[in-house]
Subunit: 321 residues, 2 copies
Amino acid sequence: MYSFLELAQQFETKFDVRHFPKQPASLYDAAQYILAIGGKRVRPVCVLMGNELFGEINKDAWQVATAIELFHNFSLIHDDIMDKAPLRRGVPTVHTKFGEATALLAGDVMFAQAYDYLTHIDLSYVQKIIKLFNTTSKEVCEGQQIDMDFEQMQNVSSDEYIHMITLKTSVLLAASLQLGAILGGAGERNQQQLYAFGKNLGIAFQIQDDYLDAFGDPDKFGKQIGGDILANKKTFLLLHAKEVANDAQKKEIDTLLELNAADKVQKMLSIYKACKVDEWAKELKEKYYKAALNNLEDVAVLSARKKPLHDLAVYLMERES
Amino acid sequence: MYSFLELAQQFETKFDVRHFPKQPASLYDAAQYILAIGGKRVRPVCVLMGNELFGEINKDAWQVATAIELFHNFSLIHDDIMDKAPLRRGVPTVHTKFGEATALLAGDVMFAQAYDYLTHIDLSYVQKIIKLFNTTSKEVCEGQQIDMDFEQMQNVSSDEYIHMITLKTSVLLAASLQLGAILGGAGERNQQQLYAFGKNLGIAFQIQDDYLDAFGDPDKFGKQIGGDILANKKTFLLLHAKEVANDAQKKEIDTLLELNAADKVQKMLSIYKACKVDEWAKELKEKYYKAALNNLEDVAVLSARKKPLHDLAVYLMERES
């Protein structure tokens, strides 16, 4: 069995090819561009790991892993257009480099190309695989829409936020694992446990993301601490702070959100700490992390086979950047 | 056997349902909105007609017809964003009504939903159907990209334009017919003839479109005559005029394209007529129309079965709006 990093390397080697025709270069170079930027390839590796949990990695799992990574990049291209993001992983986003219209189309062809890989798998799995892929695709779009809706709303509860983040990021992790499991011949119950593992892990991962942005170690965290606070991003931390703050704190939060004071980050962090948002976030993360581990525990295969997935969960949860 | 109009009515009745979940309404209402605007439903009916050419319309053909119409509307939503079009069929475009970000996502979920319908068909056809659907999807995107590239180019030949229009509009018509034929159990050769029929008919249709915009009867043509000229659109007519005009005419064309003179349409039409662009366009249309009819002729089924498709071709070619 392989570790996450070993599979990520193997995937990278196989994935590092041109996935599109040469012409029209104005379209396909834009599509290929984002794939070359790289990434952790967590989702496709989850397909492979979900597959290996039940036996040797089969050739269809590589096809589906490729489809998942293409889908993920399609959604990144379109999200970046919607969010008007200038940079991704330190380089210009597709629409910044190639224009919005081409970026939109590059996303579209990438989505179609993902389906192309899915049609190459064993016929007996095609319908089940494409169905889960479709459902997940639509959920990811729903998550992005709800996220945009939140930006226009005054009050969002942390429960609503969890629902949004589940759709926007967790279901793809969960589905990747399940797709691998399906191809590994897993039974329905094992598939569902693995899906739940991915879903809970994804939520815990996002809480960790929000936490690190506010409370991470500046020397280890790759980005500027407090970036979410500066951007008024509705994170787990902000939403919970608004739920538990007293009237004076609430007023201060609203003032901080309206103005861009020089000490905005510092002041918001003080409120977070006064409201014990940091402790709450840690506990919430633990809750989902433990639920994920329990799901993994409940998958009916030998414990030894679960080690790589267990290690992955630990790695994702203990990261400091 | 049914006529185009009968099938269009039957399709409309079946298609007139909600294709998406209720929530999030902010996303799915936008997607449903464009479907309710209506349209001629030419492409889905071509699936049904391609299917009926080989026997009774089977239930899978309805699924594929629905997928094709969803795909077509997905591409309309995204094209309208790219073209910054305020109106479609006289009503606000999706992005005008719901904002660009939501329109982009509404297109994406519609594309995914199209695949959902494709997975519901008989397993023995799934791979072949989805493969052709994928190829066609990518070609439509390529066509749109090449069309946008043309806007930035000084010189485009009419051959390049035909290539673009083939990808942007004809292949979808062609594939719709072939998809129906596949589900009808047609042999490879019949499938290819039908595909060629749709492709040639699509090109003839587009030439007719460009022709009517310039030379149509104002009383019968639904839109303003000369709309393409006012918008400096690179049509068959303009590209050919630039190819055959003498130096003085070329200079006048360039001046007309640069300035927006009050008599721009009238002056451009004079050049078109002096260059016999109208006659050329009629001949070119006839060439593709005849090629299409020959393709239909060559499909090895009883002539009587071809009548509805033949009537459709006549109807599309003799329209005046």
